[in-house]
Symmetry: C2
Subunit: 389 residues, 2 copies
């Protein structure tokens, strides 16, 4: 298995991109990443796309061919693959692309994620989200994705492993960083009070506990680590990628306040990279709902059960404040959550940090960074570890 | 890159499976393949799923987790990945699974394809099919997938590279073999006259030129070639896998009577396997519409442009009749076309042939077999070459 490097990254602004089509944002992110890698499109020999719902949103499946076509790469008939895993679509696409280079089947691969959501009506958006839960035993019974996460939050509060304030502080952390990121959808700090008083969505979660509806795309270029220097002086090593699954329905789990898939995937990833959680300086975690941030920090081994809320509430996760900076991009909550793009955008952020190009939100002396992407209620989780070289 | 072997195969019957759910057919095929490989589910460490439209058909995305869950594998939190590439979904899933084992990231992988279509209404089915064409420039303008293939047929007839009778004979060949396959949806030979006189769908194509709406699932188990003997005496080597893309819209191609993605992918695959088309004894090709069979034989290098129709009409492609037997399973036309399952079902058939277990439709002394899977109008094509060992 060959070692793999990230040699270029690119992303659109996240937010309401009403002037742009799904096609155009996918191409914009891809072209930025290719230019950042000092390549032309002709040197790419494999394409991976993470996308959740273009079938439902714009009646377009076969996004693989669409992006190959509109980026001009279809003229070379390159291999193009679309993967879908709900909210983890981008994370899974990244993993498949890493495997493609590691195996030797491809050499220079572009992996992108894209979603165009703000021009959809609420029914379409909610149906698409709920399809990532269990359609027979959850969504079909009237459960929505946010209500499932609300039950997790309710259970944590009942068990005493997190307070309402601690859960809300995950959103405060993401907004703190979003204010520092020019590409973020919401560039505004938000006090804890605002999160606590925001309109209820599914009790106890309010509007500010939920990541927004967004448009956006992100992309990275991969090649064998040995060849990275040929293209750029500023590259990052992919030290590990691992993925885990879990029951589709939350009700089938022995404990709903932890994601077994995160625990399993992160264990495999740490082992593959030969490190422990203490070696990580910067992490992008999947805060589609604030309560997911609490679980992430615990399930990834950064702290014990019942401690993550205290860590967030104390402000230690803000850049410069502690040993581990979390969601320096603004996370899903403040950077924005164009679903299929999210997992790739996390990789863009971690690579940017490890290259020392994160500007106002730069974490000092980071050697290792981690990204965690989640589909449904933890039914699919990817964990990637990147290393500065 | 490690060599990869197929050590187990399984499939449901294809057809109207009204007594079964999407979940149950996926599990049935998977369990058959695992049992055929003399394994238990616990030994599988990676899962790949090809599925086109469960999101639209049963409001269920995240099929990766669904299958991991219902097969009991989610308790181990194994990695599970769903890919989608229209009609090539199963073929692409197979390719990703091969890569997973070849790279060393996974060791024993189950790859399955499944689709449940017969309980859908016509609008849902047609929308799902048309989403694999270009939604903005084709489907959005009223073009359907069958009408795009009808244009290809019309053009061939105009150019004189195939006659109406030759095109129809592709369906005759598939039905000849379907009659010999107990798992096929249509087990009845069909004379040329019946195809020619079948009700028009999109002129010149009639009902018997079109693959049916089907339910079904298929699965295979992969492991490193070196370890295959530990599990079974009856295994097959994966000699090559390659994939190609093309413009999403047919109108953007210089020549609509050939699929550049098939040409490119097959060239790469022959090179990878170190063989020529003449070495192949049995091929499964993507005859979703009869005219696609004509293109396939030509684009895969089995004969020159204008000759494939004559080959089919002469009956040389029937088992025992010539050097190359085509669609011995009955193909998409007679075996059935549960979309996401089709590409995996082709692999099941070729592996069964090379293991000498194809019963009444057995091809004698076959060393190499090929499978070609197509998405949309050739916007994604996979070509796999298997070898008897």
């Amino acid at each position: 298995m060959r070692d793999v490097a990230i040699i270029g990254v690119g992303a659109t602004k996240f937010g309401d991109l009403w002037e742009n089509s799904f096609r155009s944002i996918g191409i914009e992110a891809g072209m930025k990443a290719i230019a950042d890698a000092n390549l032309s499109g002709r040197e790419i020999d494999g394409l991976y796309i993470g996308n959740m719902s273009a079938g439902r949103f714009i009646n377009q499946k076969h996004i693989d061919a669409l992006i190959a076509d509109y980026s001009g790469m279809a003229t070379n008939h390159i291999s193009a693959v679309r993967v879908e895993a709900g909210g983890a679509s981008g994370g899974v696409a990244f993993g498949q692309a890493v495997m493609a280079v590691a195996s030797g089947l491809h050499n220079t691969v572009l992996v992108g994620g894209a979603e165009k959501m703000t021009d959809q009506d609420d029914v379409s958006i909610n149906t698409a989200m709920d399809e990532t839960a269990d359609s027979e035993w959850e969504a079909g019974m009237g459960l929505t994705l946010v209500s499932l996460y609300a039950m997790i939050a309710r259970r944590m509060i009942y068990e005493g492993t997190a307070t309402r304030e601690e859960i809300a502080s995950v959103a405060v952390n993401s907004h703190f960083h979003g204010a520092l990121n020019e590409g973020a959808q919401f560039r505004k700090e938000v006090p804890l009070e605002t999160v606590l008083r925001s309109g209820p969505v599914a009790d106890p979660l309010g509007m500010f506990d939920c990541a927004p509806i967004s448009d956006g795309a992100a992309a990275v270029v991969l090649c064998p680590l040995k060849e990275a220097k040929k293209h750029t002086d500023s590259y990052v090593k992919v030290s590990a990628f691992a993925q885990g699954s879990d029951t589709l329905a939350l009700s089938q789990r022995p404990d709903i306040t932890r994601f077994g898939a995160t625990v399993a995937a992160s264990k495999r990833a740490y082992e593959m990279a030969g490190i422990t959680p203490a070696d990580i300086s910067v992490a992008e975690i999947h805060d589609d709902f604030s309560v997911a941030g609490i679980m992430a920090l615990q399930d990834l081994g950064f702290c014990k059960k019942g401690e993550a809320g205290k860590v967030f509430l104390s402000g230690q996760t803000k850049v410069g404040a502690g040993k581990l900076a979390v969601n320096t991009s603004g996370g899903l909550k403040a950077r924005g959550y164009p679903i299929g793009a999210a997992g790739v955008a996390q990789i863009v952020e971690i690579a940017t940090q490890l290259r020392g190009k994160a500007d106002k939100r730069q974490v000092a002396n980071a050697r290792y960074g981690l990204a965690q992407s989640v589909g449904g209620t933890g039914s699919a989780v990817t964990v990637s570890i990147l290393e500065a070289v």
